[in-house]
């Protein structure tokens, strides 16, 4: 049962892949409008935790609530509605190969029932910000991995979502582009969005902490650790 006011609320949530227990009784609340970085060694369960939030997985035990809805009990329509309120940057980007970068960025608008032509200026501004304005007609296969990641970031924020979930958003990008991606997240956060970024990039976290009220969560042995203490 979800009980808190958080945008994300884990209550003793467990998750295992077969015999491998990845998350152990994770209890966690992210307040609305907060900015969090999720760290931990590779394989610590960061992506799994994010998947529980964006409803790709459901907990084996305990509960996960996102924006007030307990994820395990949601039907297909409610899951889709909840996802439309999120912006996702997935680790493998998941751009649609047959669409141009412009259409990939506009895809969440189309899914939300908006006319992308009415948001052309926003799409162009976003593409310019992430350095892809000259590649809008290109297809994902023509882009470098860094460019693909920047396109995925632009796609994630084009609808100005209430919740941004990003899994290694600066993984393949140079320092300048990483700074611009961070700036996008900070701007959305200042506008009220809750942002959760899983990353290994400590310089990104330091930059964010210098600019905003950013908190760091660390996953160790399947449990969340913050400031050296289990939450």
């Amino acid at each position: 049962m979800w009980r808190g006011d958080g945008v994300i609320a884990f209550e003793a949530a467990d998750f295992s892949y077969g015999a491998h227990r990845v998350l152990r009784a994770v209890t966690l609340t992210l307040e609305p409008g907060s900015l969090h970085f999720l760290t931990g060694r590779s394989g610590a369960g960061k992506t799994t935790l994010l998947k529980l939030i964006y409803l790709a997985l459901t907990p084996a035990a305990g509960s996960v609530a996102v924006m007030g809805a307990e994820t395990a009990t949601l039907g297909a329509a409610a899951r889709a509605a909840l996802r439309r309120r999120m912006g996702l940057v997935l680790q493998d980007c998941d751009l649609l190969e047959h669409l141009s970068i412009r259409d990939n960025i506009a895809l969440p608008l189309r899914i939300a029932g908006q006319d992308p032509r009415a948001r052309e200026a926003d799409i162009l501004a976003l593409a310019r910000w992430v350095g892809l304005d000259a590649r809008l007609e290109a297809h994902p296969r023509e882009l470098s991995s860094g460019e693909r990641r920047r396109a995925a970031v632009a796609r994630a924020v084009v609808t100005a979502p209430e919740l941004v979930i990003a899994d290694e958003p600066t993984g393949d990008v140079d320092e300048e582009a990483a700074g611009r991606i961070l700036e996008l997240f900070l701007e959305l956060n200042r506008a009220g969005a809750t942002v959760l970024v899983a990353t290994h990039d400590m310089s990104l976290i330091r930059k964010a902490q210098g600019r905003a009220q950013a908190r760091t969560l660390r996953l160790e042995d399947g449990a969340i650790i913050r400031a050296g203490a289990a939450l």
Binding site: L57, R85, L96, R110
Partner: protein, 288 residues
């Protein structure tokens, strides 16, 4: 930027061309079956109508061959003022001979053998009740037998009804075959675009939106296939030397054939659309 944005599902994944081939074949066969059923109905209808408008009265074989036997005269008199009878006429010896000729040849003279006399009765609308007519004849000309051809019409009508049932069963089976093909095509398309579907759902696409991306191309292919198959069947029928001849009934009215050609492709597309949608929604419901 292109004027028309591409759909969220790659065309190669959502374009099961086989559906067009199967839809074309099914529409071809459906039009053939329905045209055949229509033809059978028209033939039996023409025969049945021909018999329904007439009746025959048999007078037991007379001693001589005089047409004016007292029994025949009495039967004619009874028929002349009977309700539901437009005309009654005793067949002449020559007409009797002509009727018997196909079976007995021209060499025999009907006047030389004891054949019953026949009265050809033209019925009005509504025709008289069989039992009432027989009772009337029994009273006026005992032994005269009234035959309204019902015994002949019944098998014809049953045969026509059987043809119609067979045609509708055939069309139903073709529909089932098309639906099965579409289901397989939809499942293959969905499996081939699994990564795209996963991305769309993660971005918040409703299952109905995802299904729409697949069902439209499938329905379009079914429509195109049907639009080729249905007229091809009509063309094949018009060219086929069936040798039935106009005596078996009027040829199919063009309006009926045209209605079939026009209706078959959209019906095929609608079936394909509905089947694809249900198959995809069912698969999506089972997917995480």
């Amino acid at each position: 930027m292109s004027a028309r944005r591409p759909g969220p599902v790659a065309p190669h994944a959502a374009t099961p061309y086989l559906v067009a081939v199967v839809s074309g074949a099914m529409c071809f066969l459906a039009v053939l079956a329905l045209e055949a059923a229509g033809g059978a109905a028209r033939v039996s209808g023409a025969w049945s109508d021909g018999m329904a408008g007439a009746a025959t009265v048999r007078i037991p074989a007379p001693e001589g061959r005089s047409a004016a036997t007292p029994l025949a005269v009495a039967a004619l008199a009874a028929l002349s003022d009977a309700p539901g009878v437009a005309d009654a006429r005793l067949l002449a010896a020559e007409e009797m001979a002509a009727l018997a000729a196909p079976w007995l040849g021209d060499a025999l003279n009907p006047a030389e053998w004891p054949a019953p006399l026949l009265i050809d009765v033209t019925l009005a609308d509504p025709p008289p009740a069989r039992d009432a007519m027989q009772a009337r004849l029994d009273a006026a000309a005992p032994g005269a037998l009234y035959d309204d051809h019902a015994a002949w019409r019944a098998p014809l009508e049953q045969a026509a009804a059987a043809f119609r049932r067979l045609a509708f069963w055939s069309v139903g089976l073709m529909g089932i075959a098309l639906a099965a093909m579409v289901t397989a095509a939809a499942r293959a398309s969905l499996a081939g675009a699994a990564a795209t579907v996963r991305t769309l759902r993660l971005l918040g696409a409703r299952d109905g939106d995802v299904a729409r991306a697949f069902e439209r191309p499938i329905a379009l292919r079914a429509l195109i296939g049907g639009a080729l198959g249905a007229p091809a069947a009509a063309l094949a029928l018009s060219q086929a030397p069936l040798g039935l001849g106009p005596a078996l009934g009027a040829p199919a009215p063009w309006s009926a054939t045209l209605a079939l050609i026009v209706a078959a492709p959209p019906a095929s597309a609608a079936l394909a659309w509905l089947t694809a949608r249900l198959a995809i929604l069912l698969m999506l419901r089972r997917a995480p």
